[in-house]
Amino acid sequence: MAELSFREAIAAGIAQEMERDPLVYFIGEDVGAAGGVFKATVGLFERFGPERVRDTPISEQAIIGAAMGAAMTGLRPIAEIMFSDFLATCWDMVANQIAKTRYMTDGQVSLPLVIRTANGGGTRFGAQHSQSLENWGMAVPGLKVVAPSTPADAKGLLAGAIRDPDPVLFFEQKSLYGVKGDVPDGEHVEALGRAKVLRDGKDCTIVALAAMVPRAMAAADRLAADGIEATVVDVRSLVPLDTRTILAEVRKTGRLFTVEENPRLCGWGAELASIAADECFDDLDGPIVRITAPHVPLPAADVLEDAAMPSTGRIVQTVLRSMR
């Protein structure tokens, strides 16, 4: 085990796969000599050269379109969109072209590509550089959606995404970039579509994603002091969704809480709540409760942003209120 920051783990994951497979190429804005604006790709340009690690203009449609054209003709490109908010400028490429072309051509085309993007709030950047947009991808058939919460998963799931034969949106929660954690030595690859049970408790199940996972874990510690034993599940991958693992935990505890960074409407937790209501209604001992940001654009000021995003305190209070 080596201790790496989340951003170092991202670079390590890309490097591992570029080393292994000469068809893996990496493009994006400022990803070359600059090492990425979040410094999550430092060293790749020096190690793999300007052909395999290539700077692009500020042209998100061209970046994602080029990745698609390359993927359909034999490469395994990784394309970086600096902030997930910028996906809006190339959503045609993502949602209309990449997501649908395999289906429309009845499998004539495969698109083994990864779109990496810095996602989410906590950095006081305001509403156009802080969105938590996993749900956008989840709503479009044909896209896989992954969001790691730890350095180990940042490397392992990114490697898994690069090896996956289908297009993957890989969301890196930007407030996690500096977080350190143990990453297994040697080759590290995690298959997509597996949730992870991080903590076992008998009273309720808290399901969280990305930056909400450490908050859910901290909340579970505080709840334990109040006599409530919570199971915490890291979803890790929204598509494919590991409903087997999640529903098994819901059945054991009889309660489901989701912790979502996204604004309220149509969050991934709503889909999960619907599935749980459908398939384990008889096992539920109380309402399914979603803890989300309010349905507003995320504000910039620290006090406002902190209050809008689900905090450890809000998770604790919501669970306590609902369990009493």
Binding site: R52, P57, P77
Partner: protein, 337 residues
């Protein structure tokens, strides 16, 4: 603007190539006319966008391409797809929503794709395929395969952002891609001139990307074949991208429900007199090809379209078990366990 329409090429196009150009144009013309007839019979559902009148561009480029080169085209893409050698019966069946369609009914008229013939897709969101074609060219470049991507699009595309993003990237990365603007004078129902800052929507913008301004007669198959040879050759030799504007005209409306009443009669008459198929027929005859030979090409094309129509019409409707197939590479549509 100093942009000039390029002169016809010197007569160095050999006879078999000329016969092939004519054969392809006639086949594409007959296919589109049959598609229109089947639409009138209410057998073609949804929409369809015919390229009647624009055959010289598809034929000129397809004949000049290597078998493993890539074609990217638009929803007006029947001709470009067939020109690469895709099955006419499979294309017709796709238009009819049959199970024996090119994509088993899952794509339809606007998305004809036949990857094994290099027809990498028909793209129905204006401009989307320009960056994608650049990506295929990037892949060819780094794989050192010698392949070239040719990307066809309409005049309306020149006013969308993806056009400019793709051209800039292609030039900066010196990609082996040829962008061919089929300027059929109308952006859907609106004259392109009335919504564009320059007279020649593609050619006049070439200089913005450091490219030569190329304006050609898109209704002349020899001219198109010649410019195709030049631009594809340049791309294959590592000389980077080209942007070609081919002047042409849609004989019909934008899509199947459009009678195109917005076009002045005199303009339509003028362009019909420059019909690329009729014009090429006359040129072949004048160059010594016999009437019998030309008739033979035309008869064979009709027979091919008849056979394709028959095969398509006899196909069973697309089957509903297709619905949940091929979202993912494992063939499934599974999103949970």
């Amino acid at each position: 603007m100093s942009t000039q329409v390029q002169k016809p090429p010197a007569a160095d196009i050999d006879r078999p190539t000329r016969l092939r150009l004519y054969q392809l144009m006639v086949e594409l013309r007959d296919f589109e006319q049959r598609a229109y007839e089947l639409f009138l019979e209410n057998l073609v559902r949804g929409t369809s966008h015919l390229a009647l009148g624009q055959e010289a561009i598809a034929a000129g480029y397809a004949v000049a391409m290597r078998a493993d080169d890539y074609t990217f085209c638009t929803y007006r893409g029947h001709g470009h797809t067939l020109a690469r050698g895709a099955s006419m019966a499979a294309a017709m069946a796709e238009l009819l929503g049959r199970g024996n369609g090119m994509m088993h009914g899952k794509g339809g008229s606007m998305h004809l794709t036949d990857v094994k013939h290099g027809a990498m897709g028909s793209y129905a969101i204006v401009g989307a395929h320009l960056p994608i074609a650049a990506g295929a060219a990037w892949s060819a470049q780094v794989r050192k395969s010698g392949q070239v991507a040719v990307c066809f699009f309409g005049d309306g595309t020149t006013n969308i952002g993806a056009f400019h993003e793709a051209l800039n990237l292609a030039v900066v990365w010196k990609l082996p891609v040829v962008f061919v603007c089929e300027n059929n004078q109308y952006m859907e129902y609106t004259p392109i001139r009335s919504v564009t800052a320059v007279e020649h929507p593609a050619a006049d913008r070439a200089s913005a990307y450091g490219l030569e301004s190329i304006l050609t007669d898109g209704n002349d198959a020899d001219v198109m074949y010649d410019i195709a040879r030049q631009t594809i050759g340049k791309a294959r030799a590592g000389g980077g991208p080209s942007l070609v504007e081919a002047l042409t005209y849609r004989h019909g409306g934008h899509s199947r429900g459009d009678p195109a009443k917005y076009r002045p009669e005199a303009e339509v008459r003028e362009w019909l007199s420059r019909d690329p198929v009729k014009r090429y027929r006359e040129r072949l005859l004048a160059s010594g090809v016999s009437e019998a030979e030309v008739n033979e090409i035309e008869t064979r094309a009709q027979q091919k379209v008849d056979a394709a129509t028959e095969e398509a019409r006899n196909g069973a409707p697309a089957t509903v078990d297709e619905i949940e197939r091929q979202v993912w590479s494992d063939g499934s549509a599974k999103w949970r366990n």
